[in-house]
Symmetry: C2
Subunit: 302 residues, 2 copies
Amino acid sequence: MTETVISSATKELAIGFDRPFVIIGERINPTGRKVMAEEMKNGDYSRVESDTLAQIAAGAHMLDVNAGIPLADEPRILAEAIKLVQSLTDVPLCIDSSIIEALESGLSVYQGKALVNSVTGEDESLDRVLPLVKKHGAAVVAISNDETGISEDIDVRFGVAKKIVNRASDYGIAACDVVVDPLVMPIGAINTAGREVLKLIHRLRTELKVNTTCGASNISFGLPNRNGFNGAFISMAIQAGMTSAITNPLHAEVVAASLGADVMLGKDPDCTRWITQFREPAPEGEAGGGRRAGRRRRRSAS
Amino acid sequence: MTETVISSATKELAIGFDRPFVIIGERINPTGRKVMAEEMKNGDYSRVESDTLAQIAAGAHMLDVNAGIPLADEPRILAEAIKLVQSLTDVPLCIDSSIIEALESGLSVYQGKALVNSVTGEDESLDRVLPLVKKHGAAVVAISNDETGISEDIDVRFGVAKKIVNRASDYGIAACDVVVDPLVMPIGAINTAGREVLKLIHRLRTELKVNTTCGASNISFGLPNRNGFNGAFISMAIQAGMTSAITNPLHAEVVAASLGADVMLGKDPDCTRWITQFREPAPEGEAGGGRRAGRRRRRSAS
């Protein structure tokens, strides 16, 4: 019954074994988005704003915020982006950087209990990130690679996850505040990646008893119809025990796959969330038509 | 390693634990299709023809053929439909009727080893359908209900399936030629239907060691975005051990969910089937552009 409680100033969200699956919107990230990177570098956060609103409208339960821009002042930019996003929405955030100073800067302005993304099994990462997580009372994403890289052997990756959970405990961080990323590899390149990651998710859930997250879109790298594939992956990962994912809620397949899996597993009584997300708009002129038409627009945007 | 081998005059197909998932096209069925029913009754099989071609183009591996029309000569119509379909495609067929004379008539004209749909756990059904299946060397879909109806208790449904497998054995039909339908109930009405059917599929696979099929679309009856829900269900059912389904291959979500699950479970080496189904068409004028453009049209039809 592990639960990882994350919060904003006014809203709590639990990632948990018996909770609905948590979609963490991945869009606020300048990696590979030249225009966004240039804008953010120059203090223009208009795309951060539109990505915030679009992802919330599409059904994201949390948002990941990343400001990784080469040769830019990442600590400042990340803090500014977080302040802006928190002024626009009350969903809790995932503070995403590989630079310790940026994580520190982001945490210093964050209102609530954040999810820090991420710590790895490398000693340097553990010894720099975990004290910061503890100091701010945050939760942390633990990525199951270490100095030796990413192993294709899931026993090794399980071992790294266990090491991180233990080291977090040494720093006074409870296991329920460590959300493990088992590392999703592109199945087009590594054909066994699907079976292996499903097994690893299941072991993390049943043996290490931790919540899990992942960069779900990695699975389909290089394949056609990536959204369709991501949908199949997400439903199956949830069935194996995955409790959250950093992914794109603007893709209808992703939202349907996760909400559908929740219904299948009894986490959406009376299909309430499914029906709310997907019901057809009322005909024009009927009461409530406006709001529902808005919902339809969101769907067609995906 | 159970395998159910079905065939047409020239083509064999195995439903099996280590085989790719088998999509049995559900469209050739006049139930709820007034125009089609009227046409078939009057000897017009134009919709049977177009449904055959469209389902094969969309990726169906087998086709279900049903001619259940009230007050019509079902045995004659079913036989005519089967002869027509077999003249159009070499995929094996599922002969679908609740009337013994229609099954007999269909089997008498069928070229190859058919899948008979279906027998139930009712004694009258067992004692009439199984001898016919044996006589024609066919395989049979076993529906896990009996005289007492459809139980919500999966132990009861498992027991009915076991009874049918045993009775088939008494008639000389091997267990590998019995494909069990665990019965998929609408999850909007019975909230536990998802978890329960996944458990039952897993038990049928691991304990009774039989292949399984189902009317997959039943799960989403009454819900919005049925195709999206069916996709999540199909991926999860395959993960639980389901090896075929009678469903609509014209829905892109269904095809992506099943092909994606096969890739995830290592049943599509190098993602060959996935890539063949979903690759983008070549730009106009390039070699092979015509064929690929055809593939694109199929996708947009769903």
